[in-house]
Symmetry: C3
Amino acid sequence: MKIFKNEIDLKFIKQQIAEQIGVTIDVTSTDRSFTNVSDLREANERSICFYESERYIDDFRASNAGLILVPKVIDCKPKENQVLLTVDKPYFLFMWLVSRWLELDNQASEKSISPLASIHPSAKIGQNVNIAPYVVIEEGVEIGDNTCIGSHTVILTGSKIGHSCKVYPNVVIYHDCKIGDKAIIHSGAVIGADGFGFLPLNGVQIKVPQVGNVVIEDDVEIGANTCIDRSTIGTTLIKTNAKIDNLVQIGHNSRVDEHSVLCSQVGLAGSTHIGKSVYLAGQVGVAGHLKIDDDTLVGAQSGVPASLPTGKYFGSPAISAFEQKKIVGSLKDLPSVVRFVKKMMKEEA
Amino acid sequence: MKIFKNEIDLKFIKQQIAEQIGVTIDVTSTDRSFTNVSDLREANERSICFYESERYIDDFRASNAGLILVPKVIDCKPKENQVLLTVDKPYFLFMWLVSRWLELDNQASEKSISPLASIHPSAKIGQNVNIAPYVVIEEGVEIGDNTCIGSHTVILTGSKIGHSCKVYPNVVIYHDCKIGDKAIIHSGAVIGADGFGFLPLNGVQIKVPQVGNVVIEDDVEIGANTCIDRSTIGTTLIKTNAKIDNLVQIGHNSRVDEHSVLCSQVGLAGSTHIGKSVYLAGQVGVAGHLKIDDDTLVGAQSGVPASLPTGKYFGSPAISAFEQKKIVGSLKDLPSVVRFVKKMMKEEA
Amino acid sequence: MKIFKNEIDLKFIKQQIAEQIGVTIDVTSTDRSFTNVSDLREANERSICFYESERYIDDFRASNAGLILVPKVIDCKPKENQVLLTVDKPYFLFMWLVSRWLELDNQASEKSISPLASIHPSAKIGQNVNIAPYVVIEEGVEIGDNTCIGSHTVILTGSKIGHSCKVYPNVVIYHDCKIGDKAIIHSGAVIGADGFGFLPLNGVQIKVPQVGNVVIEDDVEIGANTCIDRSTIGTTLIKTNAKIDNLVQIGHNSRVDEHSVLCSQVGLAGSTHIGKSVYLAGQVGVAGHLKIDDDTLVGAQSGVPASLPTGKYFGSPAISAFEQKKIVGSLKDLPSVVRFVKKMMKEEA
């Protein structure tokens, strides 16, 4: 159960939901207010919940929630003192409401610049910025309005962060990088560490200097302990609204286009170009110097050795998911088939 | 070689070992004391070592260790001034002894709350707690007795940590999470970052707010740079005595039951339920919304796409280890079999 | 585009390049100086670039770069005011020059010990060391000359770091570890956390104490968020000039020999021995208690279950890359072959 700092009432809820979509509201009581969201089972009279899948019909029936967002097709009456809000997409609207509620709480929280932070006098800090204790902000850094920087986060020389960003504690942003507006960066993420490049000379690995940077556009989310390396020369680029999970590796000079989703533990080698609205499932590895076209889906643990036109892929090496499924289905017969054919081959020889 | 702060003597050793199991002690000298543990080769007269596998018989014979724990079946005499302790399980008892010795050293080390830490006045800090420099403890946090918090660790609003925990430097525990007693959390671990959830709306990824938390029960160990995400609603749960290695990803709303072991770089997608005493080897990936039953073993790099009843599994997608082994064994013949059969198919056509 | 603090002129460039290899310099203007390096397209008259592959011939022809390193075989005249330096290996020499230029800039940067760092009085700090704010240096630590320690980095009791190292922010080095000279350690790396060892006793996982350490020799680079665990007893060893990328896991008691390259997200289980000049591509997993011989290449995502003699390997489980390639090539025919043979088997039965 998530208990919020601010109570909200049905009027607020109606306003927020109406902003997103027109709704029919079946209100048996109009003077109700709510303090929390929870799942149906642990809900109380001050909880807001949603009910969408019939799989949870028993939980729905037993729930003590004060307000439940329900789908249009439901055939169920509210309990006494329970409000059912009938909407098209209960889960979506519930989450929309929670987001607005969190914003309400966040607006109420005070912002300040901790005297325990170390901020270079040349840094430009916007209005209404929160800087937590032990943050380090080096020379020439710029931070936009309404951005929050969590404790221990380090922003090295010359990097710029846009407005309304949320940077959690213990993030490191190396020098000369750029983060757009409304970005969320989780703890332990490392933005702009050196790309991994060496030239062997008489058997010794000689470091290739990495003098490029990382640019992250607006509305990007970056997961905990994810690494996005700076390019050798030029820019490693994460475009608007891309979403990157925890423990992902993005090699130098790579590019991830708009709205793409990279799940946890994905790895992109260097100079990899991921198109728009691509979905890479968990633990996928993508080789370097290739392009994955827009709207492509790659299944979990797949290994992508070459460029992929738009489609669905799976396997290591990744091929068409349709073909791969047939191969995987055939494998169970492989031992008996091999035994049978080897016998034939022997007889023939 | 590990040199301890405190010396221990044979009497202490006998006491500690007797606590664990009855032993026969063959003592040629009773007034000995020891300062270190090491492997057999680098040992000196003040070292304690163990010898268990015949593979190391030469090291054993050449060793200058002052005390060696040896198995019952050994046919070997101690050197002059060398003590051989005959026990059932030398490795196990050696490690037991080392643990007790480390505790002895730790008891002797002073605990204090660094004036360089930033602790909210509302936080409740137990007795005999160590808080290192630059720790950040936010509003409403609770820390149990005898717990050590390493430098730079950040504990956000409302989180609770039990007694006798060891939290290493640079850990981040997000808000509203709960850690039980005797937990060990290694550096860089991130507990409670947002689960990875988005709903596409007209091609744009809309963030699903993550308002649940993480609960970690007693005696859990969490490796370096491991990420355990908070649930969307409700709790991501790690139960008593589960052991999680480095760089592991545990997705939102997942659950890991008692005594399970997750090796390095394992990834669990969302709403994954790992039963009791399950063993997931390194780099295993487990899809979401499924259950792995108690006592199951999954081999390294396997990919688990669906629920697994108790058993041994291997491969990506993971199937019965027994079947997978046969398939892997057949693959080497695949190229010749395919060539032979394709020729037949051509002749028949 | 990377803009340097110091300008350099052709004389400096000639000196630096001559140090590495004799060159022919075709100079149309001798009094030029440069401020930046960039790729050919965004270059200006004060940029230094390289041109090596014909793939970029259009960029080369259109470039406004002031100086371009070109290969001997080029058939192209410089633009007015453009200098072309004809050399054997333009990319290599360009990178050599950039490295020297970075060194020039770094020499110019002031070094100091931040009053915001927490340094134990017993620590031995060398000459010309830079220690950033909020660094924690515990009892008995030693830091060699000219080493830079980034903010928030924590070095626990008794660890030693050599000279001319660069340790980025937020690194944790546990107690009793040793780092050689000229090492580079990126943010979030954790050196010396406990190895992952448990002994089950009546179903409960009992921790095996980890009382060894980590030794990293000279000229090693360690990527962001990489974990190198301390050994149970003895040493986890990374030898001279080994290069380790981001998010790599090196289990306890492992050893990586000289000049080996471990790409991102590689995992080594415990007691794994990687020979000299081995190349492990991204996401490779290597089981414990085995040896990979010198000069071996292992392809991306491979799983190594047993020791490998020198060669090229691929797949999970990894076999000879030559054999694996044949198997992968045969798999596309597997479904039709299985269908055909199963029909035959049925007819025969």
